[in-house]
């Protein structure tokens, strides 16, 4: 566009005059226009101030939800660790300790529920999902330790009741399913630990439980790269590890005294790690 002939002999002069011309006009005869311009600008300012306040509120809420979700995840992990201590202590002691820990988590849920009411539940759900999943996993693990079966979604939500007995938060099907998928990892660890303790029936029970779970999951017909599909892969390898443990138990069970199991199994899980790359 710069190449278009302008008709002026010297471009430098035309710039200068152009600038002075325009300056004169704005200061001299267009004072009215300047006025309206000002009004317009404050209008824009007001508009954007409103929008800013609105956005800030949204960002704040999101921030709070994210923080709570992280806290809930963290505390739920602790709950799972408490569960794993069942190897060295009694179920009653574990459940008692877990109930204490659960109070803290309950409070976190209680605090966050005001921000997740109505339309905001789904608005901030993504930021909250991890917390829900980890919580599901922890509750499912404790339930398995106590009763040896799978916790239902309602039963998890039954822990989230306010004073008048109303459910103040719900967990989506997806978060429930993903949480349960993570449970298989904990059960795998539990199976291996219990062999260490000399418990031979537990791994077989867990193995059967995981097989059932995996069968249920394949009914969901999830696509391979969907969130559930990805978790299915983890489930598969968890089950495989437990199956190897069971195999080790059966095959070496007849050869060695009980005390050697811990050693044998740890050797085995190490070699299976190198096979499956986990």
């Amino acid at each position: 566009m710069n190449q278009i002939p302008v008709g002026s002999s010297s471009p430098t002069i035309s710039i200068e005059t152009g600038v002075t011309n325009s300056r004169k006009q704005t200061t001299d005869d267009n004072s009215n226009e300047v006025e309206t311009q000002k009004v317009k600008e404050t209008g824009v300012r007001a508009l954007f101030s409103t929008l800013r306040d609105s956005l800030d509120e949204h960002y704040n809420t999101r921030e709070i939800v994210i923080r709570h979700s992280k806290d809930i995840t963290f505390q739920s992990k602790k709950l799972i660790y408490i569960g794993h201590r069942i190897i060295n202590s009694s179920l009653d002691a574990i459940l008692k300790e877990a109930a204490e820990k659960h109070k803290e988590i309950f409070q976190l849920f209680k605090d966050i529920c005001v921000h997740l009411s109505g339309v905001n539940y789904f608005r901030y759900l993504r930021n909250m999902s991890n917390g829900f999943q980890e919580y599901t996993e922890a509750m499912a693990f404790l339930r398995y330790l106590e009763h040896g079966d799978l916790i239902k979604k309602d039963e998890i939500e039954a822990n989230l009741l306010d004073e008048s007995g109303n459910k103040f938060l719900q967990i989506t099907d997806l978060d429930y399913v993903l949480g349960i998928a993570d449970l298989t990892g904990e059960l795998m660890r539990y199976a291996i630990n219990s062999v260490g303790k000399g418990d031979h029936t537990r791994p077989l029970e867990i193995c059967q439980f995981l097989r059932n779970l995996k069968a249920q999951f394949s009914l969901l017909n999830a696509k391979p790269n969907s969130p559930i599909g990805k978790k299915m892969e983890d489930m598969k390898s968890n089950l495989q590890k437990v199956e190897l443990v069971c195999y080790a138990l059966t095959i070496h069970g007849s050869e060695y005294p009980k005390e050697f199991y811990e050693f044998i199994v740890s050797e085995h899980s190490r070699s299976s790690e190198s096979i499956y790359g986990h």
Binding site: N2, G18, S22, R45, T50, L51, V119
Partner: protein, 217 residues
């Protein structure tokens, strides 16, 4: 789950029709790029009339989305809201453009609400179908794209003063955006794009004033 998937299909269908209306309005408004300065007002009015159809479509969308489920999550990556947000942004920016063409000013939130027939979620408290603040801001960014194009084409049509007015307007808009505390998200990225539009418009203004083609500021 079955019901949800049916509803999703229905929403997709409605959004498709809604997008068709938006395209029609886009075609009308595209006329300004090749219109004489005198014809612009008529084009803007014609486009604004078409918004009755936009209202209808948003209304039927609003009816099908269940109460409080505006953001309902379908799986980890998509929500109901994601299906229509692009269409809503498009129709918002068309409305903003039409209002600009008519009166050379910003569309107000009230006007947008009237044109679209649904409220803007200014107080973060709306439970039913609404236009989100982000959508509104996105559409203002879209508007700068359109205006930078309009600045160039109005020169071609012999309207040398318009680019200067557009430049002022877009800079005002940019100043407005700088008032916001944006996070590192999509909106922030798109906001950073405004400056390229400003630059394009400024180049036009430079070319015009260099040649003293403009009469007043």
């Amino acid at each position: 789950m079955e019901a949800e998937s049916n509803r999703r299909d229905e929403i997709h269908q409605l959004v498709k029709e809604y997008e068709r209306i938006c395209r029609n309005i886009t075609v009308i408004l595209n006329g300004v790029h090749s219109a004489q300065p005198g014809e612009i007002e008529a084009i803007a009015r014609k486009a604004l009339e078409k918004f009755s159809e936009v209202r209808q479509h948003i209304q039927s969308l609003a009816q099908i989305v269940p109460y409080q489920q505006y953001y309902r999550q379908l799986n980890l990556s998509s929500r109901y809201h994601d299906i229509w947000t692009r269409a809503v942004q498009t129709s918002n920016s068309l409305a903003a453009f039409a209002v600009y063409l008519l009166e050379e000013r910003f569309i107000t939130i009230e006007e947008l609400q009237t044109l679209s027939g649904v409220p803007v979620n200014i107080n973060n408290d709306l439970q039913e179908f609404h236009i989100s603040v982000e959508e509104f801001l996105h559409s203002l960014i879209n508007l700068t794209n359109e205006l930078s194009r309009f600045a160039i084409n109005s020169v071609t049509q012999g309207d040398y003063n318009r680019p200067i007015r557009i430049s002022k307007f877009v800079k005002e808009l940019h100043n407005g955006f700088q008032l916001l505390n944006l996070k590192n998200d999509q909106l922030r990225k798109r906001f950073d794009g405004i400056k390229y539009n400003i630059k394009r418009i400024e180049e036009v203004v430079y070319d015009v004033s260099l040649r003293k083609l403009n009469t007043s500021v």
